[in-house]
Symmetry: none
């Protein structure tokens, strides 16, 4: 990604949104760790995984934040690139671990049969890993057309993405039928959050194809990634907690605990 | 190890893999600490040891990462050695503590008789300590032939390694017969993971004998060490957790808790 001179406002916007993200990640971490005692035993492991996701993301945002700081120096009228490259690869390193774990959160909180859990976990985590791993090589190509190396890797990465959507809507949909009504609603919502937030990443990936570049594009992408990550990790984690609570209460009311 | 100019890509690859390792270690730490409540009392100590291993390794990777950063400075077209030596000895300090502890994790999670546990622990931890301690002196010799000081210490270090393999396959093999079937499968898998991941270290140690040197070799070794450490510590710790869970469920089903 090309860096030009950033205005004070542009630099600060990214800086502040990244700091907000760090706070959101660690805030959610504390919530999930402390709220674990409020859910039934069967659902605790899902909250544990949720806490790992936000802790790892918080760590990476700390690094990204530091990289952002060192990539610029104060110049007259704004911030100019310092020559130290801004390390965006942290995002991929983060996703490589956290995106498969988001799938683990969702499957484990449903407390399905051992076979169903194991089958869904295998499919979803491998697909999530492939989706990230296949997107990464394309990031090093800054081509501006769809028919390019960037476009090729992006397309390859879309295959596991579509597979995940299929599993979430079709296979998981079937497994949902055995869940309490309120849980079904919550899982549908978290599924919508997933497709809504994950939708930002391919847009950012394709930004060069739309001719988006320079300072404004960079600010849009960095702020957009941060907000998408807050929703996809903190918001998602809180929804997982809501599902766990709902199931805990259902189990209690029906003597299933 | 000789350092030449690294390309941006080579430098970043090592940098990112090291950062990934820090994230993986601390992620596993959180998991093991929080998931301890999910296993029976007899198995908790094994998870405690597991948490220590990844915490210590995470700390060392933090140091190695900093050392990597300070060993290079940005130059035109890549990164050149800054003159500050890259401190690889952190790895040995780490292994000296963590490798014997990996053996403790495995023996304690099996919850064998007191005598058997004590006998296996003594043999395995002393052998693991010797294996690392004997390898270290050879690291200071950068000789390129097998018949050298490096080769001699490497060979000495191999003796305790082979002894550990003997204990794991023969003595532990006998102890396994009394374990539930599913636990036997899991222990066999963790034993395979051990031999598979530990196998990387002697290869790295012998790299100079194969004429591997320069930037590419260095990148291969650093990335390889990191990935081997993630598998041998995080992957291993998660497999220990799986064994503990399996045994906890078996105990419950058979009223042995």
């Amino acid at each position: 990604m090309d860096f030009s001179l950033l205005t004070m406002g542009q630099y600060s916007l990214v800086y502040n949104v990244m700091s907000l993200t760090i706070a959101a990640m660690f805030g959610t971490f504390i919530f999930v760790v402390l709220a674990k005692s409020q859910v039934g035993d069967k659902y605790k492991i899902s909250l544990v995984v949720s806490s790992i996701v936000v802790a790892i993301a918080g760590y990476h945002y700390f690094r990204i934040f530091q990289s952002w700081e060192s990539a610029f120096t104060l110049a007259s009228g704004g911030y100019k690139p310092s020559g130290v490259p801004f390390n965006d690869a942290y995002r991929y390193v983060d996703w490589l671990i956290t995106v498969p774990l988001l799938m683990v959160e969702l499957v484990t909180v449903l407390a399905l049969t051992k076979e169903k859990t194991s089958s869904l976990l295998t499919k979803l985590t491998i697909a999530a890993f492939l989706m990230i791993a296949l997107g990464y090589p394309g990031e090093s190509f800054h081509e501006s057309t769809m028919f390019s190396n960037r476009g090729l890797w992006g397309t390859l990465s879309t295959i596991p993405f579509l597979y995940i959507m299929y599993i979430l809507w079709v296979e998981l949909g079937k497994a949902l039928e055995s869940q309490p009504a309120q849980v079904q609603v919550l899982v549908r919502n978290i599924r919508l959050l997933t497709i809504f937030t994950w939708g930002f990443y391919p847009i950012a990936y394709m930004a060069p194809f739309f001719g988006l570049s320079g300072a404004e594009a960079q600010v849009f992408l960095q702020a957009g990634y941060s907000i998408a990550d807050i929703l996809a990790k903190c918001g998602y984690g809180l929804m997982i907690y809501a599902i766990a609570r709902e199931k805990t209460e259902y189990d209690k009311a029906n003597n299933l605990a």
